[in-house]
Each structure stands twice: as structure tokens, then as C-alpha cells.
Amino acid sequence: MKINNLKKRKIKDNVFTAVVIITTLISTLPLTLILYYLIKMGVSSISWEFFVNLPSPPGVTGGGISNAIVGTLILIGFSMLFSIPLGVALGVYLSESKKSKFTGLVRISVEILQATPSIVVGIIVYLWVVITMGSFSAFSGAVALAIMMFPLIAKSTEETLKMVPNSIKEASFALGVPYYKTVLKVILPTGMSGVINGILLAVARVAGETAPLLFTAFGNPFMNMDISKPINSLPLLIFNYAGSPYKEWHQLAWGASLILVIMVLLFNITAKGIARKWKIKY
């Protein structure tokens, strides 16, 4: 009877292992299928011209998405410029401050902002920036993306810096190093890989955002590098062209989707690489 019992256990064990493996495979399926489909549909439109040309008018085959690539890079660049200082400073504050009502309030508002639907961020920035400035602009788009990014950066900075052992901080204090220098020269460098990792993940997260750009960056069929004017971006181009009735534009949207996904993957992989390579042992 005992041996019988053991056999049953082994069978249960095997069944459990099989279930875990199968569910794991199922959960990787969506990404695999997305990549497969995107490559199948998009790869044919990718060529040198695709990167350097402007979109063609309907009815004309070919054309490229150079304005959207440049626009996305400009938007990301400026949104990083706005959100990194804010996010890192806020993260330092959250990780260093003692428990108080004010800190709790700050933490909750960061979390709520992080969960705010992106379309709402877009509308708010439209009211604040677009109406004030009198026109859609790359600047307002970057502001909208920055508002989405800085809570992410703040949270990841806070988590990373909290992991820096107190003993290292004490070592610095014991040498007579003042508090602000300890933060800038000891705590931040020690947590640097985590901070950069968080920044890259935040970029990857907003790079594909469409909703906050609809009423801000607006989109632009031409090349534009002036941040006070409307600018195109990959998600906007995909949104506009995939919804159009023209076959040539559908093709452009597929190609742009593939490029966008590759870009986001690259950000993610770089973030992982940095986290691994610069990992600090305490």
C-alpha cells in the first residue's frame, strides 16, 4: 500500500510539472505570435527608402516613415529631458524621507498619476499647453509623455535606492561627509544601474503611447524638427494609417509597427543588460 502511495505521488508530481510547463508555453505564445505576424506583414515594406523617405500620398506605392522615426526620437529625447531630473529627484526624496503625512501624500499621488489613463494625460496637456501656446506641438507631446514617465522613474529610483544598504550610507557619514554629498556621491552611484534600468523601461513604456499624443503632438505628414510645431511619431502614424482606406498606407503602418516593436524590445534588452552588467555586490 505504501509503494502504491508513492507511485500516486510521483504521478501527481509529473502532472503538476506538466501543467506548469504548458501554462508557461501558453503565456509566451502571444509575444511569439505578435512578432511572427508583424515580421510576416511588415518585413516586405522595410527597405532603405522606408527609413529615409516621407510617407507617400494615397495611391502611390513605396514611401517611408522617416518623419515618424525622427519625431519619435525627438519626443522621447525631450520627454527624458523633462522627466529624468523630476523622477530621480522625487525617487531620492521618497527613499530618503522619514515616514510622515506629507511623504505618504506624495507617494500616493505618484502612484495615482502612474495609474492615470494616458488619454486623460493627453487631454490635460491639451488644456494646459496646447491651448496656452495656441497650437499643437512636439513640445506639448513631450510634456505629455514626460508626465507619464516621471512617476515610473520615481518609483523605480525609490525601489533601487531603498536597496542600497544602510551600512554604506553610515560609512559615508562616519567620514564626515555631509548628507547631500552622501546622496549624490555615494547612494546614487551605488544605485545607478537600477536608476538607468528604470529610465529605459519608462522610455520603452511610453515609446508606443498613442493616446497622449493625439491632442498634443498631433501628427504631421512632413518632416519637422521644430518642437513648437506638430510632429509625427510612430504610434500616431500607425493609428492614422492603419485606420485609413488605402492599401499603401496599411503597408506603411505594418512596417512602422515592426520598427516600433523592435525599438521597444531594444530598450528592454538594453535595460536588462545594464542591470546585469553593472550589478553591484554589497
Binding site: A171, S172, G176
Partner: protein, 252 residues
């Protein structure tokens, strides 16, 4: 000649309502090692951390009384100045993980923004590492990060980092409790060697260690200074009953 480096006068410390140190009076003499021993929770770490004002980072910590360094009350000095004069070595080795061995030793200057010429910097690094008996082991790897060092080597690196600031007093908070016997032996030899230059105050819960390397011993029990005197005398003929019981292992 005044050879009292540090004087603790009528010193009390509290955490909230908890009275952790009661009316401590204690002097530390130049070029000696004083061991502060006692069972866990007797306040020895609080006392040593008050001496370089590190206790101020604890929530709800308050104190009264005086601690004088060469006649100056440290609570009236800038805490940053106090910590430059009174170095500290912690329980667990805590070198800066992002810095090379060289930068770790010179960190006190670098982080404080004290500018000194490169040749002088090199001298300070070499001298400090020689004093902490680490120079021969790391002289070819000065610009590598310290993560590959053993625990004992890391602790000696931390001692070198404290010595580089040329402190008058060095506080050691159970400096060998995280180390193996061999590394402990090396640190103990080092402490005996170093007392020629700095006054040392060492917290330990290891009675044998206090007996081996200290000149004076202070025995704290439940926040009270029970006995203080020459180690040899105290270990052979303790005045207080509680000291005797602690030394013979009746409690601890």
C-alpha cells in the same frame, strides 16, 4: 600633561522614553585601547555611536551630558568636524562598492571635496594601507574594485579608510564579529600596532578579545557603567559582583 583624549561626563541617552544609558562618566587615555563590553542591549553601541554623533540618525534618540574631545564639547562642534576627527569602523565591513581600493582609502577626502595634490594622495593611500597591514596584499590591484577581497581584507580596507583621515580617535564597533578566527587575529594584531598612533575605543561582546588586546575595560550592564579600570586588574580582581559574574560566564 593632559593625556585624556576623550571625557564623557554625566552622560545619559534615551530612545523615546527608554533610558538606555544612565549617568556615564568615563575617560579615555591617549594611545590606549579601551574595550567596552557587556551583554546585548546594555547600551554599548549607543555609547560608541554617541561619541562621533552617529546616534543622531536614529529616530527619537535624545541625550544629555557632555562628551569632550581635548576639552571641546563635541555637541557644540559641527558633527561633520567631529566625524573627521573621530573615525569609525563598523561591525560588518562596508567598503564603497562602486569605488576602487585606492578610491575607498581616499574616499574621506574625495567625498568631502578636499583637494590635495596627487603625490600627496598616493602617499596617504600607501601609508594608510601599510598601517592597516593590507598594502602587500593589494598593492598591485589598487585600481580594482574591492569586491574580490575577503571579509577580513575588506575590514582592513575600512580601517585604512578611517586612518586616511588621520583621526585622533578610532571607534571600533565589534570590528571582528563578522570575521573568521584567522581574520580576527590579524585585526587584533593590527589594533595593538595602531595604538601607537591613535586612541581606540572598541565595543566587543567577546570577553576573551577584550582581555587580549585592551588596556582598559569598561563594563556596561543595563545602561549603567558598572566598572571601569585596567583590563588586567579587572579581569583578575573585579570589584563588582556583576563584573565577576559576567566574566565567568554566569550571564551574558
Amino acid at each position: 600633561m593632559e593625556n585624556k583624549v576623550l571625557k564623557i561626563k554625566n552622560f545619559n541617552a534615551y530612545y523615546g522614553d527608554n533610558h538606555v544609558l544612565r549617568n556615564i562618566n568615563l575617560n579615555f587615555l591617549k594611545n590606549t585601547v579601551t574595550a567596552i563590553m557587556g551583554p546585548s542591549g546594555c547600551g554599548k553601541t549607543t555609547l560608541i555611536r554617541a561619541i562621533n554623533r552617529m546616534h543622531e540618525f536614529e529616530n527619537g534618540a535624545t541625550l544629555d551630558g557632555k562628551i569632550e574631545l581635548f576639552g571641546e564639547n563635541i555637541f557644540e562642534l559641527d558633527p561633520i568636524e567631529v566625524r573627521k576627527k573621530i573615525g569609525m569602523v563598523f561591525q560588518r565591513p562596508n567598503p564603497f562598492p562602486t569605488m576602487s581600493i585606492y578610491d575607498n582609502v581616499i574616499a574621506g577626502y574625495k567625498l568631502n571635496g578636499i583637494k590635495i595634490p596627487k603625490s600627496e594622495r598616493n602617499d596617504i593611500v600607501e601609508e594608510s594601507l601599510r598601517k592597516s597591514a593590507l598594502w602587500d596584499e593589494v598593492k598591485d590591484d589598487l585600481h580594482k574594485k574591492g569586491a574580490f577581497l575577503s571579509g577580513g581584507q575588506q575590514q582592513r580596507l575600512c580601517i585604512a579608510r578611517a586612518l586616511a583621515m588621520k583621526p585622533e580617535t578610532l571607534l571600533l564597533d565589534e570590528p571582528t564579529s563578522a570575521l573568521d578566527p584567522k581574520a580576527t587575529d590579524k585585526i587584533e594584531q593590527l589594533i595593538e600596532e595602531l595604538k601607537k598612533e591613535v586612541t581606540m575605543i572598541m565595543v566587543t561582546h567577546n570577553i576573551a578579545q577584550a582581555g587580549r588586546i585592551s588596556d582598559y575595560t569598561a563594563f556596561l550592564y543595563l545602561g549603567e557603567l558598572v566598572e571601569h579600570g585596567k583590563t588586567k586588574k579587572m579581569f583578575t580582581t573585579p570589584k563588582d559582583n556583576r563584573t565577576e559574574e559576567y566574566l565567568t560566564g554566569k550571564f551574558g
